[in-house]
């Protein structure tokens, strides 16, 4: 074997090692487009809430000077249904793009790296979700948006150990937006739209640009 050949072999071997280490310890098929899609649904949801559900509500409130119990209850149900719809749409679209990317990379979507990523994201996220439902039990709506953003940010920071590390910065940004929004209670929806809509879209585009642009 010539020296040149041997060097080629060695380099290939090192690359194999690297690839195996990376593939086996991190889930690398998260697609940037997943982020963009989730962001778009979040913005759409926020727009429906602001211009659909809240439009009449504010109008009636100023007209009557109060709201009835029934109206308030209906508002809650509408908002929860909308939130659930946005979550499902964002999740499915995110899932689709990630599935597509893993398919292109020829790795399976459900392996031990994705399992680990899944559980490490779900634990802080589900805790946050239950915490928020707990607050709603006492009709405390003030901290819903900050809590969503903060718990989601923490979930992303935790997830970053098991996937592309860039997601950590998205997590930091979500936490910061969440903390800032504590200062302007009542404008939660705008912060929510910024955190889940705009940040997701920016992050998604950056990730797509960095890893997927062909």
């Amino acid at each position: 074997m010539s020296e040149q050949n041997q060097q080629q072999d060695t380099i290939r071997e090192v690359r194999d090692i690297r690839q195996m280490m990376e593939r086996s310890s991190r889930f690398i098929s998260l697609s940037g487009l997943s982020g963009v899609a989730a962001g778009v649904f979040a913005l759409a949801g926020a727009a429906i809430a602001r211009f659909g559900i809240f439009k009449d509500y504010y109008f009636r409130y100023t007209e009557l000077g109060h709201w009835s119990r029934d109206e308030f209850r209906q508002l809650k149900i509408q908002l929860l249904a909308l939130a659930a719809g946005v979550f499902v749409a964002a999740f499915l679209s995110a899932f689709y793009f990630t599935w597509r990317k893993s398919h292109q990379q020829g790795v399976s979507l459900w392996n031990h790296t994705s399992r680990r990523l899944f559980w490490n994201t779900v634990i802080p996220l589900a805790t946050g979700g239950l915490f928020i439902l707990g607050m709603l039990q006492y009709n405390d709506w003030d901290f819903v948006a900050p809590a969503c953003l903060i718990f989601y940010g923490l979930a992303l920071v935790n997830a970053s150990k098991y996937t592309l590390t860039d997601i950590r910065y998205l997590g930091y940004c979500e936490i910061i937006v969440g903390l800032i929004s504590m200062k302007w209670i009542g404008y939660g929806l705008y912060f929510w739209a910024a955190g889940f809509g705009i940040l997701h879209i920016i992050y998604g585009i950056v990730m797509w640009w960095k890893y997927e642009r062909a």
């Binding site: 041997q6 060097q7 060695t10 071997e13 090192v14 090692i17 195996m20 593939r23 086996s24 031990h112």
Partner: protein, 99 residues
Amino acid sequence: MKNPITGLNKVFDNRIRLGVMSILAVNEEVSFNDLKQMLEVTDGNLATHLVSLEENGFLKVHKGFIGRKTNTTYSVTKSGEKAFSDHITALENMIKGVK
């Protein structure tokens, strides 16, 4: 076991054995099925290489069950860790040396 000239470990000559070691170097414990999936090899092929790594004392095998199905997991031993890192050092030296 070691090639006296290059310092490369003969055991890691094979792509599958090298792959197993790379995976176990960064994961505490990996199951047979996950290894199979990541390395894209057949059961028999993987088993043979795992046995040879085990015989060299590089692997620890844990046999367990999930329900009734056997679940065998593997982790790297101290000597396996050392052999693998020596091998990488040798590879690095070769790349540097030829440059």
